[in-house]
């Protein structure tokens, strides 16, 4: 049901406005609205909205920039680490911004240090491999001359190596040596020795051909190969510990500042909310008024709280919504715990308007029934129950996940019950193991199943239309109520006539039921005019739409049967069983998605259309951050 709401005015001396707002925010129940002077019982023009004072503008600006800085400082901070929490100045204070700047610089230094160490590890890894490969090679020239050596990195390519060798021989008249050793999976470390007099020409050639020369970083350059190698190996040994230490420092930094930063972000948001809430408050020369909506059940508690906190200097006036105010009243759904998870399904459409009907209880009963009628398999149902219980027990997805698990549990139980009625468990496997249908065998009694689906449609659409009649009468829309009652009569008459034709009712009932249907058409036209005839035809379409229960159900059971046949038809048996399990898994997944979408659609399009009044205002109480 939709909780009854009260319009509340909190009144008090102007100097207590800030404290009153802080109190209301702490209570977290009032959905604020801008007050009107007439509603506050004051002459027009005497009540005006509360402007921000000079200092408050500065505070607002400081809070906004502090919030942005604190959020960006918090973003991406690693979890873990142990350190004593560092207290921070209050957000909005000048010291807060200065402290955040210092913390941002500290974080930057730590991250730069880690980045530099990681980069060096890459360099050490790369050059270490190359130098290890080059170490056994000796620079030699075939003919006398002052040798000059170059280290190169090349891909594993024998042709490229040959080409390099021939080019160098041409350039040095054969006085050169090219020695190569593998360095890693796809690289070669190449030691080229040429006469020093030809070094520049060789370097130019290598540059032209795009051959990469090994150039050690400054830290290792200019040293003999052995020394450079020793230094690289020493760094390779030390770097992991240094990186771990730097990351620990960052972790300690996060542990030290993250809790305070999160608290500061929350405080800044709450303070900003209070400042912005001022714009919705009204004031006179000496008094303030805060207006909003509150669930009626919470009014006494708020009244008592205000009286205690402000020793009677702040008072509360509450009254029920007046006619014409319904569009402004926020909607709070209030259902028994068993139905509450199904409010999530209502979140996909605009909330109901205040004063209209909350469809959650009907959704909670009908949705699992439609789902179960489609899936209708004891095996899949039992599997669904196990998964839903596991989901609920593990608490995956928090409160949202718990609600979905509850819905899944209800749907799975319904699927298992219908599975027993249809004698199905993993398709025809249940029948093979001795299960017998109690209601009908869906695989063979296709037309009976179609009749059952359409019958369920008649009941569901009929329930929706009956709720529509109640809704119209509650709003005193008599003509609309008459039209809906006519459609309901036509639906009942048509269904009874169909049952009489099918032999479910005595044949003698045919004439009176057809008469009732005709009377229904007349009432619909009387209430809604000639266009009501169009609605009558559309209602028929709504009912026929429930044939999807049969179509999807039949598809599901036949797919399961194909999976079972595969297990016996395919050889070797292990492959057949594996394929059958795979197909059952696909069928189970489809069995979760298709009935879900189809049942939702039947509710949103066919059922809700008969009575649901969407477009309500969501309830957003002025509250502290949770």
């Amino acid at each position: 049901m939709i909780a009854p709401m009260s319009k509340v005015q909190v009144l008090g001396p102007r100097r207590l406005l800030d404290a009153a707002l802080a109190f209301l925010q702490q209570q977290g129940a009032l959905d604020l609205r801008t007050p009107s002077p007439l509603a506050a019982g004051l002459p027009s023009g005497s009540l005006h909205s509360v402007p921000l004072r000079e200092g408050e503008h500065a505070v607002e600006h400081a809070l906004e920039s502090g919030l942005e800085a604190a959020s960006s400082l918090l973003a991406g901070l690693p979890a873990g680490g142990r350190a004593e929490e560092e207290p921070l100045p209050a957000p909005g204070e000048p010291e807060f911004a200065a402290r955040l700047d210092a913390l941002a610089a500290e974080r930057r230094d730590l991250e730069d240090r880690i980045a530099a160490l990681k980069e060096e590890r890459q360099v050490v890894d790369r050059y270490g491999r190359l130098l290890v490969a080059l170490a056994p090679l000796r620079p030699v020239l075939p003919k006398p001359g002052d040798p000059h050596t170059l280290g190169l990195v090349m891909r594993h390519d024998a042709r490229a190596l040959e080409l390099l060798d021939s080019e160098l021989r041409r350039l040095t008249d054969g006085n050169c040596s090219v020695q190569a050793r593998p360095a890693g999976e796809d690289q070669l470390a190449v030691l080229v020795t040429v006469p020093r007099a030809r070094a520049n020409e060789v370097a130019a050639l290598l540059f032209e051909r795009g051959v990469e020369e090994i150039r050690l970083p400054a830290r290792y350059a200019g040293q003999p190969l052995v020394d450079a190698l020793r230094l690289l190996l020493a760094r390779e040994r030390d770097l992991p510990a240094q990186i771990a230490s730097a990351e620990e420092d960052l972790g300690r930094f996060a542990a030290r500042v993250a809790p305070s930063l999160r608290r500061a972000v929350r405080q800044a948001r709450e303070r900003l909310d209070r400042l912005r809430a001022l714009a919705t408050c009204g004031e006179t020369r000496h008094a303030f008024v805060v207006t909003g909506w509150l669930p009626r059940a919470k009014v006494p508690a708020l009244e008592a709280g205000l009286s205690t906190a402000f020793e009677g200097r702040v008072t509360l006036v509450a009254h029920a919504p007046t006619p014409g105010e319904e569009g402004d009243v926020p909607v709070v759904l209030q259902n028994p715990p068993a139905f509450r998870p199904f409010e999530r399904l209502l979140a996909l459409v605009p909330p109901p308007t205040y004063g209209s009907l909350d469809p959650t209880p009907y959704l909670a009963v009908c949705f699992p029934v439609l789902f179960g009628l489609i899936l209708g398999d004891a095996g899949f149902g039992a599997l669904g129950v196990v998964l839903a219980l596991l989901w609920r027990r593990r608490g995956w997805g928090g409160a949202f996940g718990r609600d979905l698990a509850q819905i899944a549990l209800a749907c799975s139980v319904a699927a298992a019950v219908f599975g027993i009625l249809f004698g199905e468990a993993f398709g025809n496997l249940g029948a093979e193991l001795g299960m017998r249908p109690i209601l009908m065998d869906r695989r063979r009694a296709v037309l009976s199943f179609l009749a059952l689906a359409v019958g369920v449609g008649v009941l569901h659409v009929g329930l929706g239309t009956a709720l529509g009649v109640v809704q119209s009468l509650r709003h005193r829309h008599l003509r609309e109520g008459l039209e809906r009652a006519g459609r309901l009569l036509l639906l009942c008459g048509g269904a009874a006539a169909g049952a009489a034709l099918a032999g479910l009712l005595p044949r003698a009932a045919l004439a009176p039921t057809l008469g009732a249907g005709g009377l229904g058409v007349l009432l619909a036209v009387a209430g809604g005019g000639p266009l009501a005839l169009l609605d009558v035809v559309l209602s028929l379409g709504n009912v026929l739409s429930y044939a999807r229960l049969m179509a999807l159900g039949l598809a599901s059971v036949l797919l399961a049967e194909v999976a079972n046949r595969m297990a016996t038809a395919v050889h070797p048996a292990a492959v057949g069983i594996a394929l059958a399990l795979l197909l059952h898994a696909v069928n189970f997944t489809l069995g979760l998605v298709s009935p879900l979408i189809a049942s939702l659609r039947l509710h949103y399009v066919e059922f809700f259309e008969k009575f649901y009044e969407g477009g309500g205002r969501p309830y957003h109480p002025f509250a502290l951050e949770s």
Partner: protein
């Protein structure tokens, strides 16, 4: 020969319905994806819109079943 005609009639019944549903859903899906990128709060409406043309293939299927079973 009569059984062939019956089977073909059933195939046409569900086939044309499926093609029509596919065509309409492709149009609604494209428009829905565009709408959702602008207004994610419309997801409920888009799901409903996308599911509406399913009726075509469902009714095609029902007619096919009636053709194959002789309606009784």
């Amino acid at each position: 020969m009569e059984r062939v005609y019956i089977a073909m009639a059933a195939a046409v019944s569900i086939g044309v319905g499926a093609l029509a549903t596919a065509w309409v859903q492709s149009r609604i899906g494209t428009a829905g994806a565009g709408a959702l990128s602008e207004k994610p709060e419309l997801r409920g409406t888009v799901i409903v819109m996308l599911a509406i043309p399913e009726t075509l293939v469902i009714l095609g299927f029902v007619v096919a079943v009636l053709i194959l079973t002789g309606g009784g």
